[in-house]
Each structure stands twice: as C-alpha cells, then as structure tokens.
Symmetry: C2
Subunit: 239 residues, 2 copies
DNA sequence: GGAATAATTATTGATTATTAATAATCTGCG
DNA sequence: CGCAGATTATTAATAATCAATAATTATTCC
C-alpha cells in the first residue's frame, strides 16, 4: 500500500520530513503551498523544534524553499530549473549505469531487476500507474546498489525531486513504450559489462524523459498563467 | 586576510555554520573533534537553537556527522570515502568544464580567470600556500559561473569537502607544476570551445589530485593507527 | 582480582512559554 | 487612487525544563 519514499526514520524530524516529502512528491501539497510551523506542529502533535528541523531538511532536499521570516513553501520549480535538474540527472544516471556495468559483482543486481524490467515491457501502454511504480522502484534499486556513498545519497535526493516530473512524462503511452525498451537495452548493456553503452543509454533515456516532461509542463504552465504569490491563491497545508 | 569559504550569511545559523565550516576545512577542528552544543552556544553567545541548525546544516554539507544522542563530530573520512568523493568530483568537474566550454558567453569568465591561471604558472613550486589559495579561488569562480543552480550548489558542497584534501595533494611540487600546466590546458580548451577536450582535462586533473592526496593519506593513516573513538583521544572544540 | 551489573554523568532530544523581528495586509487620510 | 502608518500573522531566537540515551564510573558478587 503506502510505501514511503524514504524510510530512514530514526528521529522525529526525519519521520516528519519523510511524511511531508511523500505528500510533496505525490502531489497533495502542490507547488506554492505554504507549510506553516504552527499548523504542522498541531497536526503531528509535536513542538516547533522537530518541525523546523524537518523543514530545514526538506529545504536541503530541494523540496521546499525557506524565505527568512516568511517560512517554507513547496518549491515551485520553473520549467527551466526542471530542465537543469534533468540535465544533471542525465549525467549522474549515466555515471551510475557505467559504474554498475563495470562492477565485477553486478550479477547480483542484474538478477534483482531482471524480472521487474521484463514486467515493464508488458505494463507499458497498459497500466500507467503500475508502470510508474515499477520504474521508480527499479531506479531506486539501482541507486541503492551504488557503493559510492556520496553518489548514492545525492542521486537519491535528485531523483526525489525529478520523480515529481517523471510521472508526467509517463503519461504518454509512446514514452512508456520507449522507456521500457531502453530499460531492457540498459539491462543488456550492464549484463554484458559494456559501461560505455550503458552510460549512453541511461543518459539518453533521461534526456528523453526530460523532453517529454517539459513538453507537458510548458502546456500546463501557459494555462495557469502567473502563480505570482498573490493573496488569491494563498495555499495552505492539509490542516 | 580571513576570507570565509562561504559567505551566504543571512541568518544566524548560517553565520555559525560558515564559521565552523571554515575551521573544519582549514583544519583547526581536526576529524573526530566533538562539537558540543553547550560550548558552542557559549562561545557564540547564542542559544541552542541556531547552533543546532548550524550543525544540521554542516551535516548536510558532509562536514560533520551527527549520531542520535551523541552529538556532532567532525566527519572522519576514510581513505576509501575520499576516493569516492573525488571519483564523483572528477565527473562533475568534467561536466562543469564541458558546459562552460560550450557556453557561447564563456568569454567573460575566461577573462576573469586568465590572469590567476597565468599567475599559477609562476607560483607553482615556489609558494605553495598562495598557489593553493589561487587554485581554490579559480575553482570557485568556475563553479559560481554555472547557470545550472543544482550543479552549482552541489559542486560547491563537494568542493568544500574535497578541498580539505586537495591541500594535501598540493604539498608535492611535482603535482603543483602538473596542476598548473593542466589548468592552462583547460583554459585553452575552454577558450577554443572544445567541450570534449575540456571535460577530459578537468576530469583527468581531478583524478590525479585524488591519487596524490590518497597517496599522502595512506602514509599518515598508517602512522596514526586506529582513532577508534576511545576515551584517550576525546577531542574537544576550541572552547 | 575480574567480570557482570547497576548507578551516575554528560549531552542531546524535545517541550513550553515568551519576546523580538519581519513581511504582508489592512486602514484611513489626503 | 495611492500612500503612510498601524495591525496581524508568522518565523527567529531565547530561556528554562524534562526526558531519553550513550558513555563512564562505581559496586557487587563470585
């Protein structure tokens, strides 16, 4: 059922941050929503301290923006910034693919994602929600397999941000099918130990996803005109 | 004189974090030092809140490690982890070089770093401290010129961590000279708009720095035996 | 004497109440 | 209609306090 995006919950702020991150990524806190300490502390039954910590942590993750004396709002990413995120994501995902492909012990990981990727071939164009779920899961498995701590945590944070938009790209049946095909090709390259090819496939797919997502966004952005922070659309958290 | 490593100081915690980061990077808080809230709040004349925030922020930057109910210690990076950091750094610095080289408006940036890089040629092998200073400054200028927000801030954080060790690599006169030469080559490639070459030079230099720094560290690590967190070497902050 | 166990201590995690600082909003005056 | 100033909502920071926990020290029992 509800599988939290991250679950390293040890201390209170981390639990709160995980919950809020979930809501932001999943969409129930749309961009621009204000996250007011007082309301959140009421909802979670906690004092301001842990909430503050959680918000700071989300700021670092790029999911909320904190303005001094104005508080936290769900980051409203511009189309340009989304393109920038995907540009880096493409590079890092490429690096991830290369390192995995060149890892002598990659067989274990390959075994773990083989079935899900095969399943993606069948889901593509049929069950979008499930396809998205599996795709995100496979992505996460690959990232978590990295032995490089820094890349693992950084990529995880980057994916957390971009997955908000990858969802959009997968609205297109064509992109689903393309994505499925490329994942299969990536798996083959990794299995063959071809780092060069793996890097290229992964980067290309990421760029295609970016193009698809931004295409989608440019349409909707035109509709909603200027969000502009005015009084009319003062959004509040799900109090 | 004292040019703080980062100076985005707006709110109190950021000022504290900047000061502490400076001390860690510069070395006056060696790895393993404990950063005790009570002492710091006394020293800075602040309450615990802002200090906590600052420590959390440093944790995100990777400079301190926070263990629940045990507090913050200056991150003691293993040689393996340093290698990992540089591995990613090499990739991102390569990306940075490529994007700069492919930027039509790169002339402005080139003009800004031309003189410092020329100066590095002369300083190499003569004034290590000044060479290091200029090298870090040029690096920072390049990073700050990036239009991609995410890469800019991420790379800044990564450099903050690795600069602790780049210092070590520059202890070698040979590496200083090699470094100076490669920086000149990089500048030429950027000026010529050759993204491919720029990426390769930057990545290669970063890897060489990594090798030099780890060579250095492996020697010293063997000497200091196991740090091991025991009672004997319980380090305290500069109270 | 030595090892297991229990008390102590140092320090962080979290709460509560309060004050200060700030940005946004509202009000009334011209 | 527009602007100066009061008001309000909200965060920033302080202080005092208690709870939770890890590390250390003391104690007991064999």
């Amino acid at each position: 059922m509800s599988s939290p995006a991250i679950d390293l919950t040890q201390t209170l702020p981390e639990k709160v941050a995980a919950t809020l991150a979930e809501r932001i990524v999943e969409g129930s806190y749309p961009p621009g929503s204000r996250l007011i300490e007082a309301l959140l502390s009421k909802e979670f039954g906690l004092s301001h301290g842990p909430i503050r910590d959680a918000l700071r942590s989300l700021q670092h993750a790029g999911l909320v923006t904190i303005l001094p004396y104005r508080g936290a709002v769900v980051t409203d990413v511009t189309v340009r910034e989304i393109r920038e995120l995907y540009q880096v994501r493409a590079a890092l995902v490429g690096l991830r693919a290369r390192w995995i492909a060149e890892d002598p012990q990659r067989a274990e990981l390959v075994a773990k994602v083989k079935a899900p990727i095969a399943r993606m071939q069948q889901l593509a164009g049929k069950d979008r929600a499930e396809y998205t779920r599996v795709a995100l899961m496979v992505n996460r498995t690959l990232t978590e397999s990295l032995s490089n701590n820094w890349l693992r945590s950084t990529l995880a944070s980057l994916m957390l941000q971009t997955s908000r938009y990858t969802r959009l790209a997968l609205a297109s049946v064509a992109h689903q099918k393309y994505s499925a095909k490329q994942w299969q090709a990536l798996l083959d390259a990794i299995e063959a130990g071809d780092g060069e090819a793996a890097e290229k496939i992964a980067a290309t797919l990421s760029q295609a996803t970016r193009d698809e997502a931004t295409k989608f966004l440019e349409q909707t952005v035109l509709k909603q005109a200027a969000p502009s922070f005015k009084s009319g659309d003062k959004k509040k958290p799900a109090a």
